[in-house]
Amino acid sequence: MGISIFHSVYLDTNLCVGCTTCIKHCPTQAIRVREGKASIMEERCIDCGECIRVCPKGAKKSATDPLALMSDYDIRVALPAPSLYGQFGSACKPAEIFDALYSVGFNEVFDVAWGASVLTPAIRRFVASTQTRPLISSACPVIVRLIQLRFPSLIPNLVPFLPPMEITARKVRELLAQIYQSDRRYSMPGESGEFDQHRAGVFFITPCTSKVTAIRLPLGYKQSMVSAVFSFQDIFASLKKAMAPRGEGEAGDPAPHGHSGHEKFSRFSGLGRGFDWARSDGELESLRIPGAVSVDGIENVITLFEDIDNGKFSDIPYIEALACPGGCVGGPMAVANPHVARSTIKAIAASANSSASQTQAESAKRGSVSPERNNDSPERLYSVTDESMRWETEVTPTPVMLLDRDLTVALKLAEGMETIAASLPGLDCGACGGPDCRSLAEDIVKGKAKIDDCIVRLKQKIIAPEASMPSSAACGKQA
């Protein structure tokens, strides 16, 4: 019933030692350790990557695509997430990273920061047009999935727009078609030379585990225009290598390149605030909605959503909610220290923003906009309507916690669960392989575990087989 079974986060069973660290950190209680190995309950996983972050053995991984996949395509477009610019230290300018991307084999580079920058005014208009409060950003796919699973009553609060990645990918496809179909100088390699979207690879470069899932099972739209997802971790070394021969400080304006890039797209340097979406607070600072709130880190998000669910904070207009600590720079597949990356991003966005406004001011003075200058204003050059960025499909609740579709049966099971939970020690030790006593109770009523999986109870049984568990040791949450 529509519950996804594809997930980016997976377990390398060879590396897993069954230590139970991950089960305690999973925000949706989606992991159990069974027979010495962790296993992910696919329907509950929201691809947040918390388990990847905490696994001491590196057994939790994300199924991003191998870089070698690039060679399957005749045209290769890189879509760097804004957070990429925070990975190489503050001395490294965006233009250098752009060049490095060409050097490693991309023909075109198109910043996802562009998507963020065109989405910003659309969100602003949407917030002004609706009474729903608080509105919640849908830019982070983990947050959208979290809401589907744990806070379905907040689905109407989500801002119904595509994520910057998808907005950018769509524009890229559109531009590719335009360029290759209208300009006779460019043709696809091969017999006919005719343009074929299938042979154009659009590659999202990201620190995010959930984006892999988002392109295969999109939320709010039918099909993703992204071909594959490359992780920062996989591409970092080759980018670094490509950058090495360049000296410091020669970044800035585009210079002629000795690489294979076609560069039919305009080269952007003026995305300004779009870069800022890579860090927590960045989206808010670009939106400038008074009273808006930013929250990052999945546990902090859950705490806030719990309050909203209780009817609080209906006076807050907008919430930027990001699953990773510090925002996307804190993604599970990021390379740089997230705190340092955050500050780098802040500096890049500020300087891009000031140069963009400078350009605008100069153009205004001259009274006309030259085509080259126009490159600095992608919002004008590549226009996009608010409507085209809206969700196309409904985002629906995923009732993964449901015990049974028949309420009478579900009630019986829930009652059984409470009885079992009351007989458990309430230590939430995780030794049974579940995150807490209640989840063991749940697994028992579902026939997926047995009472002797509780080590504490089992020990009692061995020491004093006659006596049952004393009632004083019952779960503290119970009366």
Binding site: P399, A414, A479
Partner: protein, 141 residues
């Protein structure tokens, strides 16, 4: 089935925990979202009332296929004038509590708005019991 939860006094970090627990239970039962939201809001208000005014107390939840009954009990000062307490904006919360963003005097009226039925029993210096009733007319898909 029954669920019994304790609500500590003046522990605002724990406030909302009973409500969260009930929400989890309702999710396991597949209760319709709109109803879950109403229950959560009413329950949270009740929790806050008990935490602020009632000196702590309990929440007892009883579920049948037709009804959700929630009894919020405390042994606090009681409500001398229930009619007045039901008035929007009326509050006896201290300045300190108000400064924390609570005690806007919307608790009971808000509970009444969200519950299908609401009954209050209160004896001064003995305590208060608020009984909330919700009807489950579950949509079958």
């Amino acid at each position: 089935m029954k669920l019994s939860l304790s609500i500590p006094w003046m522990d605002f970090s724990a406030a909302g925990k009973a409500s969260a627990e009930v929400k989890k239970l309702l999710a396991r039962l597949g209760i319709e979202q709109g109803l879950v939201k109403r229950i959560a809001i009413a329950m949270y208000e009740g929790e806050m009332n008990i935490a602020i005014h009632g000196g702590g107390g309990t929440a007892d939840i009883e579920l049948t296929p037709d009804l959700v009954d929630i009894y919020l009990r405390d042994h606090g000062p009681g409500i001398p004038d229930i009619g007045l307490a039901m008035t929007e904006g009326y509050s006896t919360a201290s300045e300190e509590i108000r400064n924390m963003g609570f005690g806007a005097g919307m608790g009971l009226p808000n509970m009444k708005r969200n519950a299908d039925e609401l009954y209050i029993e209160s004896v001064v210096n003995q305590g208060t019991t608020v009984h909330l009733v919700f009807h489950l007319n579950r949509k079958q898909e």
